[in-house]
């Protein structure tokens, strides 16, 4: 049973990590707590639902298409909601409030338009049979989530560390004004970050919707709290931290529910959050910000 519980934990954790990747990047580079992020997650799942159900696309085509569409949506919404705030250098709280208002309106609009029902991707898009290894069982959707998380984390790390774009992004994360003076087109980069983050959220929505069979407009909202815990524990803007914190959270939650009391599963995430904030306020992997005169 322990082995199955550990697998359960790693799988749950990779859904948290998958969700948190784009969120932490958005936070780290754009310095915006963008609450519309959860909406791109829901939107991605619904795009894929439409593509597979109405148009009969295979999941291999629907997944990237849904991710791309969510990315474009993120660019448009970011431009609509935050361009002006960036121009006037509004305090961080304003972007938080603007995106909070926007995301509530978006969820409500989506519910009115599409209905509140829980849907699932057509049962045939992925083999439903679980892989059985002795006592252990793992489904194809779960394997896909593990692979996708690994590939996306690897890809993001490579992008950030090895490419000129990554260098520009890190510069912008450090000091946007200085980056601008060095000839970096920060507006274009911000749009790129929105695109990538929206696409990550969309892909996460499709994969997690596929795994839990629960696609509905508010699915992003439910993930948002866990997303916050993961990016704060992992360190804001830290891709590797999001991966490790996500996995850690998933395993701890699962073991708590499996061996202590399922009633404490919810509490454990927030106990971890408080404990980390007490001991390492910048997260397990974050570096403290040093302000020099």
């Amino acid at each position: 049973m322990l082995a199955q519980q550990l697998i359960n934990g790693v799988l749950l954790g990779s859904t948290y990590a998958l969700f948190a990747l784009g969120f932490t990047l958005m936070f780290g580079v754009l310095k915006v707590v963008n609450l519309t992020y959860g909406f791109y997650f829901s939107a991605g799942a619904f795009f894929a639902l439409h593509l597979t159900k109405q148009w009969g696309w295979p999941i291999a085509a629907a997944l990237p298409a849904a991710a791309a569409a969510s990315g474009v949506l993120a660019v448009v919404l970011d431009w609509l909601l935050l361009t002006r705030l960036r121009r006037i250098n509004a305090p961080e709280l304003s972007s938080l409030m603007v995106t909070l208002g926007a995301v509530l309106a978006l969820y409500a609009g989506m519910t009115t338009w599409l209905g509140p029902d829980i849907r699932r991707l057509p049962a045939g898009v992925l083999g439903g049979e679980a892989l059985v290894l002795g006592e252990l069982r793992i489904t194809q959707a779960q394997i896909l989530i593990l692979l996708a998380t690994a590939v996306l984390v690897g890809g993001l790390l490579a992008l950030m560390r090895l490419t000129p774009i990554g260098l520009a992004l890190r510069a912008m994360a450090e000091k946007p004004d200085a980056a601008g003076l060095m000839g970096i087109d920060t507006a274009k980069l911000a749009a790129l970050v929105s695109l990538v983050c929206g696409a990550l959220a969309g892909a996460g929505g499709v994969l997690i919707g596929l795994n839990f069979n629960a696609i509905q407009p508010y699915m992003g909202e439910a993930m948002m709290l866990r997303g916050f815990v993961v990016i704060i524990i992992g360190g804001l803007g830290d891709v590797r931290g999001a991966l490790i914190a996500g996995l850690l959270l998933g395993v701890v939650e699962t073991l708590t529910a499996g061996y202590i009391d399922s009633g404490l599963k919810e509490a454990v995430a927030f106990i971890m959050l408080v404990a980390v904030l007490w001991t390492r306020p910048s997260g397990l992997f974050g570096r403290a910000h040093i302000q020099r005169a």
Binding site: M1, Q4, Q5, N8, G9, L11, L12, T15, A108, T111, T112, G115, P116, D117, I118, R119, R120, A123, A130, V132, R137, T139, I208, F212, N213, A214, Q216, Y218, M219, A222, E253, T254, L255, T256, A257, G258, Y259, S262, G263, K265, E266
Partner: protein
Amino acid sequence: MKRTHFLAGAAALVASAALPSLAAAQVQVGAIEILTGPAAAYGIAIKAGLDLALAEVNAKGVLGGQKIVLTVEDSAGNKDQAINAARKLIGRDKAVIIIGPTLSNEMFAVGPVTNERKVPTVGTSTTAAGITEMGPYIFRTSLPESDVVPVTFKKAQARGVKTIALMYANDDAFSKSGFDVMKAAAEKLGLKILTIETFGSKDTDFAAQLTKIKALKPDAIGISALVEPVSGVVLQARQLGIGKETLLLGGNGANSPKLGDIAGAAADGMLVGSPWFIAKPDAVNTKFVADFKAKYGKDPDQFAAQAYDTMKIVAQAIDRAGAADSEKITAALGKTDFSGVMGPFKFTAGRDPASSEGVVVLEMRGGKFAIAQ
């Protein structure tokens, strides 16, 4: 300009002289339902049932031809918003009776308010224990789970179930009270409870709890939650290799066609007790189902059926009260003797439904409910 005004005024005078009761010929009825947010499916089904019955009622009218005006306020599943809705309905709309709210949670918040204002309040979907004990103005037409669940569990025992694991959503009054009933029913029948696991009603991952249950090898798993998490639990149970040899038992929340829509064949074999079933063959029910399909283009569920009967029970009570007066309607409600899609209906002295003879145990087959053998 002046001339038309004068003419219009004269016409109005003539009209009102001809029909003296026209201006006052409306009875204000309020309803509080979840129309937005994640649980909106329930409120929307209920509103559909209410509207369908209202059209029939208003074809004849009550109190000698008066029309019922139904104002439905959205609670969004939020207790505070439900209380505000009740205040609005009583204060602004002068509602003489209120139907709803949707969830037991909300009823526990709204009940004390409406009871204090002495406005009768009729829950159509509130099945938790203790609802009607809030006061003499609080009624419900939905059979409490304590009447439905034991029938399901008895059927399970007849199929050889001796040990059981129980699961419920621990952040929702409806699910918790359903669990209490399941636990009591299991103890009364002498079933051995191997473990009790909880989850959040918005959770999507139940693997940890189900893995633990699987290792204990119970004969049955009883799940008390709304249909969305129940479907998630069922799907994941099958993924983790809990097979048909383990009987799945649902409470009132599982009693929705959405169980089949979401969980599909994974839910096959699951037993769910129900105060109503779409394929009940009596004439009242078949007419209701046909009318509902014609109006909304989809099948009604239990929530719509309960709402449909409730609107008619309310209309009859208003008629028998002889006036649009909350106090008289409350007294008349107590004397209800009605026969609708749910079967024969009366209230107990405690304002709960009097009979559970209409309960049917259903079994999922091929993603659809059928009457269990």
